[in-house]
Amino acid sequence: MKDFMARNPFWTLIIVLAVCFLIWAIFAPWPPGFVDTFGRKKIFLNALFNGVTLGALYFLVASGFTLIFGLMKNVNLAHGSLYLLGGYIGYDVANTTGWWLLSFIVVFVVVGAMGVLLQVLVFQRMEGQDLRQTLVTIGISIVVADLMLWYWGGDFYQILTPDWLSGPIQLPIVTAVKSSGEAVFLKYPFVRLVILVASIVIGFAMWLSLNKTRVGMLIRAGVDDRDMLSATGVRIQRVFVLVFAFGAGLAGVAGVVGGTFQSLAPGEDTRFLLASLVVVIVGGMGSIPGAALGALLIGLAEQFGSVYMPTYAVVLTFLIMVVVLAFRPQGLLGERR
């Protein structure tokens, strides 16, 4: 942080100004001239909150991807399929048992077990063969996508939010002031805020366990030099299996989350695979804070894009990726190796 400020005083100033402007735009009532150019404040705030919560979802998907890539250099292009599979299984569990929270546990275990299978049956056999891994995982994603289409059909599924989470909640943020002088406060779906908080907690827990625990130490050592680590007697294959299971389970959990505040359908797997690709390319491969930053940027870009330039919202995310690649090929927070 301090390094960054010392090295880039200009960019620090710009970032500080942008953050100040953002805080002002969130909390202060907007002057009329402002409303004319940017539209109503409510729209802006909704786009902002949607963007941040979407970013939280993207972070859940992409952090598993980037963790697996960072440690094992495994490119798992079946990651999107794990997401969608998790969503479908979560839907079935939540529908039959009626317990929303139970579906998270079941999905984490089941999809995590799929991850173990993938790691043991596929990736261990072709360690270090990038292209082959890519091709095999593409093949797996095609087969899994068709099997899922076979079993669950082409319909849209949405996981019902439990009662204690449904409905909007009033936030202490003024969107407009009525002519009578009465302030109108922003209302926002409670479940999205819960998911946002939960992903921040998960992200923080990941950071903490990576930096403060023994397993985290092993993982970081493995990222830096895995041959050396296995030479010191660590059974690195076990660490690999563990990380893969965790990353896959996280993708599955993200599927339940995505199924709750968006919907599940064939094609969502590719969408989320692409999203996590873009997120980790923008944020930097193998970096958890990078995934967080990238997810936030992409989520915001998608939502603001769909509000302020609806036609090209999807293209905007790819544009961000291209710009980042052109100026910083290793990603915003990635390290050059």
């Binding site: 890519t134 068709d146 076979w150």
Partner: protein, 365 residues
């Protein structure tokens, strides 16, 4: 590289040779004559449906996959953007030339529209390449995949230029020399001609100094840089050639289908091109064509096959996926690799001297 072992055609012994000196008829290996004869006589052997929808399509897909094979096999850069390059050529032809969407199409004559389409598509592919070569290996795949999907979404959303979701239809080849090129037999010969040109030019480039340097870059970029080669320039130049081949194939594709839409270059088709190239084998230029024939046959007849074994025909993707998975799992170098290993097992007796293998080394293509 097996291709460079063939000293009969490659002037690598230092003596200056004119470029055609290796092209005397006697040096063409027997399988070439055989395959060439079959391909030329095909209109007599099969019906118009097979000719147009199966072999015409396979040759076009083979050309696009060939451009991927050139980048992947000789340059070590697996690019998923080739289908988008082909589709951009198709779009440009529809925009500058004639189509049923008269409010967008400019209706310029074909001898203006085609060169413009080729130039723009090649420029698009080259730009993508320039962006992709900033990264390496697996990153290239991801970045080109992302660019391919950006192209798909952009064309789907843009109505001013690309006519959005429905794209363009009614794009037909010009009637030249009194021949209707949309008819199966003339169109087949047209695609066969361009496929042969693309195949031979890739074969030629792979043995020319540029191709050899490119293979050097693939094997050890650092050493090539130390030897004074401009690695980035070689890679981008490879993208130029590959994009041009893909662009030519794109123009043939729009004539074959009569239409082009965002779905032409969706994420599925982009990955299909990779599948085709890998099923055939990324090591030889002939691989993509073999892969394309297998893919098209699967695609055309999988339905009947699935029904005959008691599954519903909708599970076509499953069949393709399983075949693809089996091939990449057990033979990473594709069908050609399987064939080669089988042949080696048949006639290799002495692994130390390799004598038994030498006598049919000339038949390698």
């Amino acid at each position: 590289m097996a291709v460079t072992e063939d000293t009969g055609t490659a002037p690598i012994n230092g003596k200056p040779q004119s470029w055609w000196s290796g092209l005397s008829l006697a040096s063409v290996p027997t399988p070439y004559w055989f395959v060439g004869a079959i391909l030329l006589l095909l209109p007599v052997l099969v019906g118009p449906f097979m000719l147009f929808q199966v072999f015409g399509w396979a040759l076009i897909l083979g050309m696009i996959a060939l451009s991927l094979m050139f980048l992947g096999g000789y340059g070590g850069m697996v690019s998923l953007v080739q289908m988008s390059v082909a589709a951009s050529a198709a779009y440009m032809l529809a925009i500058f030339g004639e189509s049923a969407i008269t409010q967008i199409s400019l209706g310029w004559p074909w001898w203006v529209a085609i060169p413009i389409a080729l130039i723009i598509a090649t420029a698009f592919g080259t730009l993508t390449g320039a962006l992709a070569v900033r990264t390496e290996g697996i990153y290239t795949i991801m970045i080109t995949l992302a660019i391919a999907s950006a192209f798909f979404y952009f064309t789907r959303q843009n109505y001013v230029l690309f006519n959005g979701f429905s794209g363009f239809n009614g794009v037909t080849p010009p009637e030249l020399f009194g021949v209707d090129w949309r008819q199966p037999t003339p169109f087949y010969y047209l695609t066969l001609f361009w496929a042969a040109v693309a195949y031979l030019s890739v074969l030629y480039v792979s043995r020319a100094p540029f191709g050899l340097a490119l293979q050097g870059v693939r094997d050890n970029a650092r050493r090539m840089e130390a030897l004074g080669y401009n690695v980035t320039a070689h890679r981008i130049a490879a993208y130029v050639l590959a994009s041009f081949i893909a662009a030519v194939a794109g123009i043939l594709l729009v004539w074959l289908n009569g239409q082009v839409s965002p779905g032409t270059a969706g994420i599925g088709p982009a990955i299909d091109i990779l599948i085709i190239a890998v099923i055939g084998g990324l090591a030889r230029p002939v691989g993509p064509f073999i892969g394309a024939i297998i893919y098209v046959l699967l695609r055309t007849f999988a339905l009947d096959f699935m029904v005959s074994i008691g599954l519903s025909g909708e599970r076509f993707q499953l069949l393709v996926g399983v075949v693809f998975l089996a091939i990449v799992f057990w033979s990473p170098d594709g069908i050609l690799g399987l064939w080669e290993r089988w042949r080696n097992r048949m006639n290799s007796t002495d692994r130390l001297t390799g004598k038994a293998r030498d006598n049919d080394g000339g038949s390698e293509v």
